[in-house]
Amino acid sequence: MRLDCPMCGSRDRREFYYQGDAVMLARPAVDAGEAAWDSYLHLRDNPAGQTRELWQHEAGCGAWLVVTRDTVTHAVSAVELASDVKRAMA
């Protein structure tokens, strides 16, 4: 498996650290309550198919990435900079 880092180009999977579901981009407010924090930290859609995940180009440029990937075929359809995604969410 290779990922197309927007900064560095196509790189081997071994250069990347997997964080998990991109739900981690939407951090709840401190006082959002137990259910919101449980949802953020633990509960997952865990889809068999398209998913959006946070990866870090740990052994490369260090950028955090949002990877759109199919969990059944391992096909990667998009890699974006997490900072861009976060700005678009604001």
């Binding site: 137990e34 633990h42 865990n46 995940e53 969990t71 391992h74």
Partner: protein, 417 residues
């Protein structure tokens, strides 16, 4: 049909014409007292103990593929009770006791072989950790023996003891640990359940869960609607999809774990051995194949196959530990879909829907838990009360933060187990 030496002899002399199918391939009825979704090891053992321990025989196991076609048919077959934390410790201890009586109980040869499991350590710190684990196992009533370097050499003379980076300091021997024939466990439980009247329904995929006013009413399947007041979800890596049918999100992410087997060789590895470098463990099957595996690939996956970096890492670890296996040819590799929880421990609990129960989150350790999980889940489904040894496997421990069981001590976070 009971198996016995006498029976084998008689069949051998009469052309083996008397053997019958081990279980009935049942057609779904319109209604059952209880439905188990998932005909794997845990689902079949749940059905068996519901019938045997609780007299519930009007039940069905629904399996979308064929019985035992999931993780119970694709694992590295290790059976052990060497857990450290309260909650896990008593559960796996109970499960190992069930394993020890399983063949007699099921009248089925599951080839349970208590050949001993040796976890190697390679530093003073690792020795301390394993000594502590061993004490915890002994306190639980199980067995553990701390071996020094020469003690390990007696059992495993073929290891590379003088590896520069990972010299062998010793190992923790768990004499009652070992392996079992994985498929036979599923078949034995299937036969035992079927004989007691349980309907085992294959090629029957659940497509919906019917809930009215917070009470489960049954399921929709590819073979029609089936009513039941109690439904148990036991679907391992597919837990997320099935739970979603009941409107639930679970603290589970499905990951890929690879394993490998070589061509058949003469007996050379007599134990289950794990390398303290990271994740590498190996045993030899009764057919002679070396069965070994490593860690997760570490990304969410339903592909049932992994990528090369982890395969390469596992081979490197094997060659570092026991260079003698270098000429063995790998015949097969495969990947299982692991239902990973944030703390690496399982869930056996009720849900917010009345009558709907869930047994999941076995991570990469579900095989040895098959008897204990079925026993405890059957107890919960039949009585509505948590079963002692599994009482800490609560679904809400992540939300409340109470009772997390993180054996590795790395934190209750999805990507750390």
């Amino acid at each position: 049909m009971r198996f016995s030496g006498w029976r084998v002899l008689r069949e051998g002399l009469t052309g083996n014409k008397g053997w019958a199918p081990h279980w009935r391939d049942a057609e779904p009825k319109a209604e059952y007292d209880a439905i188990i979704i998932g005909g794997g090891g845990h689902g079949l053992s749940t059905a068996y103990y519901l019938a045997k321990e609780h007299g519930l025989t009007n039940i069905a196991v629904l399996e979308k593929g064929y019985l035992g076609g999931g993780n119970v048919g694709r694992n590295t077959t290790i059976v052990r009770a060497n857990y450290f934390l309260q909650g896990n410790s008593e559960f796996y201890s109970h499960s190992l006791k069930l394993w020890e009586g399983l063949e007699e109980d099921l009248n089925y040869n599951v080839m349970h072989s208590q050949r001993g499991l040796i976890n190697l350590f390679h530093s003073d710190g690792q020795r301390d950790a394993f000594a502590r684990r061993g004490n915890s196992m002994i306190n639980q009533g199980d067995d553990a023996v701390l071996l020094d370097r020469e003690g390990v050499r007696k059992y495993l003379p073929y290891l590379d003891f003088d590896n520069v980076r990972f010299p062998i300091y010793g190992g923790l021997l768990h004499p009652r640990g070992g392996t079992a024939r994985h498929d036979a466990v599923a078949w034995g439980y299937a036969r035992g359940a079927s004989d007691r009247g349980v309907d085992l329904i294959q090629k029957c995929e659940v497509t919906g869960i019917d809930i009215e006013n917070g009470q489960v009413r049954g399921v929709q399947t590819t073979r029609g609607a089936i009513r039941a007041k109690k439904v148990g979800i036991v679907v391992a890596g597919r837990s997320g999809q099935v739970a979603a049918m009941a409107g639930m999100r679970l603290p589970i992410e499905s990951h890929i774990l690879q394993a490998f087997v070589t061509e058949g060789l003469k007996p050379c590895i007599d134990h289950v051995v794990s390398f303290g470098m990271g994740h590498f463990y190996i045993s030899q099957s009764d057919k002679g194949g070396l069965v070994f595996g490593g860690d997760l690939d570490f990304y969410a996956s339903y592909a049932s196959r992994g990528n090369l970096p982890m395969a390469e890492h596992v081979m490197e670890a094997g060659m570092t530990l026991m260079p003698m296996i270098g000429k063995a040819k790998v015949l097969r590799s495969w990947g299982g879909i692991m239902d990973m929880t944030p703390d690496g421990s399982p869930i056996i609990d009720k849900t917010d829907t009345k009558g709907l129960f869930i047994d999941c989150g076995w991570c990469y350790g579900g095989f040895k838990a098959v008897p204990g999980s079925g026993f405890s889940f059957a107890h919960l489904m039949a009585t509505g009360n948590h079963h002692g040894p599994a009482a800490k496997f609560r679904l809400d421990r992540f939300r409340t933060g109470t009772g997390l069981m993180d054996e590795e001590g790395t934190g209750a976070q999805h990507n750390l187990h």
